[in-house]
């Protein structure tokens, strides 16, 4: 299906490709005769892959008359394959998908609905019907029901669940004991041992326990927090389910994010935040703990948290002496306590070359032998570092029950608390909830987060938490419902084939070339000397022109076309006219919000230039150790983004951060920076200033290009240092000022990484920048057409601003060659 849309476009270049294949040294080696090569993008380390695949390849070595199968493991290096699906999207769209992909179950429905995956139902049914005795045959009954259900979309199986998790409440036993009397009075009693304090079981008890376990110092500052509702891994989802709510209607066509149960759940979460002094105070406390590399629950600063079973391993290895317990999350009185499971699965992308063999591989990977190989390898990794490995929960009940017994419960070296904790997770798994399988899963997730933030920060109605929650959830519901309607009640649009795009591009090239020739002919009346300069000009510019025609121009024209289409990468684009643009201008509040945020960041451009120039002037002196100074000042620009992000979270800590400590020293009380919707953008600007040394290189080169005699002449004329700076340095630097201004603006309007790594757009969308919103639409909601329209609006804005700058520049930029 997909290849059909893609191939015509690429066929033009295929002739060229044939020429190139001869040169292609290190392409993938051709498979041997009568054997089939599978490409597998998994999550296993490469040391593990040979061990893991050895068994599979031995079973399919060709001795049974079937072709032999060879598996090539492609490490999916992306941290989160569903958050950053660019790689898979490119491979699938490029018609060269891997055969089996390790994929987050939560996103299976979303991709399956768009035809990105092959349905596995026929393969599954066939195995069941033939009633084969093959031990690898999968049976629905072997799996935990929620895991299986999450892998099915529209009644068909699209993925085979592999690992799973479950969520529950962790509590610090020491702290429970410390406040034992008060807790028992509040009804938090250990059911097995009356007379001893136990974890809360109802929402009422949770509220009381959170209050009792919270400790403040003499000045009323939070020293220890009992419970933070959205900390660890809980979100609005688990509270909604605990309150008996549903996020989608039975048929999946109506979003019920604003159902009364969920509104109440959000109001309940808000009331716990209020108990601690409000969401702002809590998040300040939370982030003040972040700098400590150990998380606050392990450090005993938070008494309870809802999290997944993977957290057991953190406790086991980072805080060996901690006393803790695990129990199901509390539910409202009379309602059922339950967990929330998610996890990973294997899928076959649509268009994969060998689905039959891929299915064999999937069945093998879901089997017990494969589980054992993986677990043994992980144990070895952990033990090499002296750590404990807690086995993963398999989505298959038979494997999990055996594995927990074998690797965990029977191991005398592992602490009893860890075993007890795991029992809670495993035993309650069958009744756990899972996120609705829907084509708008990611959008629902993001809107849930947005509503949650708006709820706990009381964004819409500061006085009435119930009404505020309702308003926040209503807004989210409307957004999700709109996307749902677009999928289930689609309007008819003409399909667009690739030919017009290609033909259009070629025609455009011809028109441009024709225009050029015409223009050239008209101007060619010059003398030979001038004509020679023309030719030289074209020749020198040729590298860029060739590059633009071959690599750059096509994709740009392509995105322009797509901005008038509904396009999800997997199916053929549909022409929708201007509706992307009109949606953006009239129906998308985030468009204006993100644009506003981006414009705000433009303030940082002149600031950054001033700091960069200042540093460069300082560093252009000749003095001892200057080489070292220059390097040190440049360091921040070199720092890898991920490391810088960790660092800056620590610097921006409202309570313990370096920045606020410095401000306090001067007598100022610093804001909560990245936790505060008003200060998050200024915070990011400050962070940008820190790496302003990066621009220093250009300034230094510019400064050194200023002839000394100009300064000497100015000094003779009696000009002071300021005057010299104003009359000599600035004009001589004006070409570079223009450069930095234009580039700074272009760069700022595409600002993305900071938001992506540091803030994920929050708090309250205050760092949702235009490019980040665009990224969300393109890769998370699969609205590539809409994203293209956004890109072209951005293009228009930046182009106009750049033209204005270039026009104004004629007045103030001084070029030595034109003086």
């Amino acid at each position: 299906m997909i290849a059909a849309y893609v191939l015509p476009g690429s066929s033009l270049v295929i002739v060229g490709a044939c020429l190139f294949t001869g040169v292609c040294g290190l392409a993938v080696g051709a498979p041997e005769e009568a054997s089939i090569t599978l490409y597998y993008w998994g999550n296993e380390g490469d040391t593990l892959a040979p061990d893991l695949l050895q068994g599979f390849e031995a079973m399919h070595d060709g001795s049974d008359g079937q072709p032999a199968i060879r598996v090539i493991m492609g490490q999916s290096a992306s941290v989160n394959r569903t958050d950053d699906p660019q790689r898979l999207l490119c491979a699938v769209a490029g018609g060269e998908p891997p055969d089996v992909v390790f994929f987050d179950r939560f996103a299976v429905g979303e991709w399956a609905a768009r035809g990105a995956f092959r349905s596995l139902q026929d393969l599954y049914d066939r195995d069941i019907e033939t009633g084969t005795q093959d031990p690898f045959t999968l049976r629905e009954g072997d799996f935990y029901p929620p895991c299986w259900a999450e892998a099915c979309y529209d009644g068909e199986l699209f993925a085979v669940p592999l690992e799973t998790d479950n969520r529950a409440l962790y509590y610090n036993t020491d702290l429970l004991e410390k406040h034992g009397d008060a807790l028992i009075a509040a009804g938090c009693v250990d059911p097995d041992r009356p007379g001893r304090a136990g974890p809360p079981r109802t929402w009422e008890q949770l509220l009381r326990a959170a209050e009792i376990l919270t400790e403040r110092d003499e000045r009323g500052r939070l020293m220890r927090v009992g419970f933070i509702p959205n900390y660890g891994n809980s979100w609005l989802y688990i509270y909604g389910w605990l309150n008996g709510g549903r996020f989608m209607s039975e048929d999946g066509r109506t979003c019920t994010l604003n159902a009364p149960e969920i509104v109440d759940a959000l109001a309940f979460m808000t009331s716990i935040y209020d108990l601690m002094g409000g969401a702002r105070a809590v998040s300040a406390f939370q982030s003040s703990q972040e700098g400590a590399d150990l998380d606050p629950f392990l450090a005993g600063k938070i008494a309870m948290r809802i999290d997944g079973n993977a957290y057991l391993e953190s406790i086991a290895n980072l805080r060996r002496d901690m006393r803790f317990g695990v129990t199901l999350a509390p539910a409202p009185e009379g309602k059922r306590r339950l967990g929330w499971c998610g996890g990973w699965s294997l899928v076959i992308p649509a268009g994969a070359a060998h689905p039959e063999e891929a299915w064999e591989l999937i069945k093998y990977m879901a089997s017990r032998p494969a589980y054992v190989v993986k677990t043994e390898a992980m144990r070895q990794q952990a033990r090499a570092a002296g750590n404990i490995h807690i086995p993963l929960i398999s989505a298959r009940r038979d494997i999990t029950e055996w594995a927990m017994e074998h690797y965990l419960y029977e191991d005398p070296t592992i602490d009893e608390q860890l075993k007890e904790g795991m029992r809670v997770f495993v035993e309650n798994l069958p009744a756990s909830k899972y996120r609705p399988v829907t084509p708008v899963g990611q959008l629902l997730w993001n809107e849930q987060v947005r509503a949650l933030e708006a709820g706990i920060f009381r964004r819409y109605d500061p006085d009435d938490p119930g009404r505020n929650a309702k308003m926040a959830l209503d807004k989210g519901t409307a957004v999700v419902q709109k996307a749902l309607d677009a999928i289930y009640k689609p309007e008819e649009h003409p399909k667009l084939t690739w030919r017009p795009v290609v033909v259009g591009y070629l025609m455009l090239l011809m028109v441009v070339a024709g225009g050029f020739i015409w223009y050239f002919k008209r101007r060619l009346s010059g003398v030979g000397y001038v004509r020679q300069e023309y030719y030289a000009g074209y020749l020198f510019a040729a590298p860029w022109v060739i590059g633009f025609i071959v690599f750059g121009g096509g994709p740009i024209v392509f995105s322009l076309f797509m901005s008038f289409c509904k396009y999800d990468v997997f199916s053929s684009p549909e022409f929708v006219g201007l509706s992307n643009y009109s949606d953006m201008f009239f129906n998308d509040p985030l468009f204006y919000k993100s644009l506003g945020n981006t414009v705000f960041m433009a303030l940082g451009v002149p600031l950054g230039m001033a700091v960069g120039l200042g540093i460069a002037m300082l560093l252009s002196h000749e003095t001892k150790g200057m080489a070292v100074y220059r390097t040190v000042y440049y360091l921040p620009a070199i720092m890898p983004v991920v490391a810088a992000a960790i660092l800056w979270r620590w610097i921006f800590n409202p309570e313990e951060g370096v920045l606020n400590a410095a401000l306090q020293w001067v007598g100022l009380r610093g804001p909560a920076w990245l936790q505060d919707e008003h200060w998050s953008k200024p915070g990011l600007i400050v962070m940008g200033l820190w790496s302003a040394g990066g621009g220093m290189v250009v300034w230094l080169a510019g400064l050194k290009g200023i002839p000394k005699h100009l300064y000497e002449a100015a000094e003779i004329d009696g000009a002071g240092p300021l005057r010299r700076f104003w009359s000599v340095t600035l004009p001589m630097l004006s070409p570079y000022i223009l450069f930095n201004l234009v580039m700074g603006l272009i760069g700022t309007f595409q600002i993305f990484t900071q938001a992506y790594v540091m803030t994920q757009g929050g708090p309250l969308d205050s760092t949702l920048f235009f490019a980040y919103a665009l990224f969300n639409n393109a890769f998370r909601y699969m609205k590539m057409g809409y994203a293209s329209a956004m890109a072209w609006v951005l293009f228009g804005i930046v182009l106009v601003l750049t033209l204005i700058q270039l026009r104004l520049a004629k007045r103030w930029v001084h070029y030595e060659s034109e003086s």
């Binding site: 040391t47 593990l48 490490q75 790689r87 036993t173 150990l294 510019a541 005699h709 450069f739 060659s817």
Partner: protein
């Protein structure tokens, strides 16, 4: 008033002070980064700037005095009450501990009155003590603590403060996947070959039987322990040997040597007595794919010729422990995360791929961009300014929406899974650098060029002999930018490379983060490893940014 000289000195001192302050502000985060990269997972909390210095113990076993945080007055308890009760509590705990003498393993005996043990128990119960306890009389408070302590608590705290080196189970793994757990035989137990050490056999509570090694390096620089184990598998099949052991956090070096049927293998890297937990160390023979696979948690065994140990059906394992002095232990500890990074990933191959990409990209950008910029700044031709606007315009479309069509183009050229998509384009120049160079080239006076032309220099001559030398600082800047961009680029390789062998370092270390993200120190070490080459290159290149060529004399 001041002499010229004094003024000059004053100015340069001020400059140095300003520079130093600025440098401190800019470098402080790196000091933290660097410090963290030298920490082990245990010392992440509480946060501190200077990584812990190892105790530098010469003798083992020993009691670690720094293991516990000192019990401090809890919030909400009056200082006076605290001071009053503290010593009473400590005495009561000590008294209580001695009552467990019979329930605990006999070798605990000499250590039961150690302050570290008492302090550990104090802290353990202080965490769960309600503040109201301290309202009582000191005797009652002490009683509250003492009556709660059980033998199990003592054993738990003891386990953490008692540091020892113990050797336990050995396993052999074959290339075919088979595993053997040989029993340490009666006739060939672990024995001390030489050096200041002795072995004590001990079954520790629920844990496995082990040989505790008591050593004292004040009496010698090294010791050697050895065992002979039955090995059923064919010696050719022997892939790796795994030893379960408990080390004592002294950071001495341990070298392994394995002998089977007249052949000998020496460990290529040492193990360290650095952790204080049960751990399993793997020594593995070289395999053919070792240089491509990632996450290699083993130490390599290198063939070291013949051995005099020829007994069939047995393998001989020798461990040599070499003393590390105080400094040596610190060095061993601080460099541990770096060693680990370099060992876990096939570093040489990744660096080679990165180097190829960096060299080609830097070359391409410098050549391509300068040619094009020359055309846009020094030559006049029809359509130039319109064309330049198109150059700028290509920067204004976010890459996210062109990513897929660009991928399709490279794929149809057959460049998928090759390095080509990652460097070829740079030879076409990039808009950012073209603009930058154009600005620099426009700053060069025309007269230079005119005189060259009169001397019969062609356009290429002007470009190569006059313009390029004059914009060298800008070219150096482009070089640095491109170097950094290519070196750190992660998304490009991720999309275009499927083959592990082609990965550049950025992608390789990113994959490390996927597997080892929880290991903070290791991540920081990887970040330093990533940053260091850029720092070195910048340091070496920085003088080129300021190599301004004075144009004096031309206009003056």
């Amino acid at each position: 008033m001041f002499s010229n000289r004094a003024r000059r000195v004053g100015r340069s001192v001020t400059l140095q002070v300003v520079l130093l302050l600025g440098a401190a502000a800019f470098a402080a985060p790196f000091v933290w980064l660097f410090g963290t990269s030298c920490k082990t997972a245990d010392e992440m909390y509480p946060p501190r700037w200077i990584p812990e210095v190892p105790a530098g113990r010469a003798a083992s076993p020993y009691i670690e005095l720094r293991e516990n945080e000192r019990p401090e007055c809890p919030v909400g308890v009056r200082k006076a009450d605290w001071i009053e009760s503290k010593s009473a509590i400590e005495e009561a705990i000590a008294a209580r501990v001695s009552t467990f003498q019979d329930e605990l393993p006999p070798f605990y005996g000499p250590y039961l009155q150690e302050t570290a043990l008492v302090e550990g128990l104090f802290g353990k119960f202080l965490r769960r003590a309600p503040e109201t306890v301290f309202d009582e009389t000191p005797g009652r408070v002490a009683g509250w603590f003492a009556e709660r302590i059980t033998a199990k608590d003592v054993a738990e705290v003891f386990e953490r403060v008692y540091r020892r080196l113990s050797l336990s189970q050995v396993a052999f793994h074959g290339w075919d996947g088979s595993v053997e757990y040989p029993e340490i035989s009666e006739e060939y137990p672990w024995k001390v070959l030489e050096g200041p050490a002795e072995l004590v056999t001990r079954r520790e509570g629920l844990l496995r039987p082990a040989e505790e090694v008591h050593y004292d390096f004040s009496k010698g620089e090294a010791f050697c322990v050895q065992t002979v184990l039955p090995l059923d598998m064919n010696p050719e099949n022997m892939k790796k040997v795994v030893l379960a052991w408990h080390s004592d956090r002294t950071w001495h070096r341990v070298w392994a040597c394995l002998e089977i049927a007249g052949e000998k293998w020496n460990a290529a890297q040492p193990a360290f007595t650095g952790s204080d937990r049960w751990q399993e160390t793997t020594w593995q023979r070289r395999g053919k794919n070792d240089d491509v696979v990632m996450m290699r948690p083993w130490l390599t065994l290198a063939a070291a010729g013949e051995s005099d140990f020829t007994e069939p059906g047995y393998a001989r394992l020798t461990l040599t422990c070499l003393r590390a002095s105080g400094w040596g232990a610190a060095w061993n500890k601080y460099t541990n995360n770096y060693r680990e990074v370099l060992r876990l990933v096939p570093f040489g191959r990744y660096v080679r791929n990165s180097a190829i990409l960096v060299v080609l990209n830097v070359l391409g950008q410098i050549v391509g961009s300068s040619l094009v910029a020359f055309s846009f700044s020094r030559l006049r031709w029809p359509g130039r300014d319109a064309c330049f606007l198109v150059v700028l315009a290509t920067l204004m479309i976010p890459a996210q929406v062109t990513m897929i069509p660009v991928f399709l183009i490279f794929k149809s050229l057959g460049w998928y899974n090759t390095l080509r998509p990652l460097w070829v384009v740079s030879f076409c120049g990039s808009a950012f650098y073209i603009f930058l160079l154009r600005q620099f080239m426009r700053g060069i006076p025309r007269d230079l060029e005119d005189s060259a032309r009169i001397d019969g220099c062609g356009y290429f001559g002007i470009y190569a002999r006059i313009i390029v030398p004059l914009v060298k600082p800008a070219l150096a800047a482009i070089g640095i930018f491109t170097f950094m961009g290519t070196w750190n680029d992660f998304m490009g390789p991720l999309i275009y490379l499927n083959d592990q062998r082609l990965y550049p370092l950025s992608l390789g270390l990113f994959a490390l983060q996927v597997f080892k993200g929880a290991n903070f120190g290791l991540m920081m070490a990887a970040a330093v490893v990533m940053t260091l080459p850029v720092v070195v290159v910048f340091f070496a290149a920085q003088r080129h940014f300021i190599q301004g060529i004075t144009l004096t004399g031309l206009k003056g």
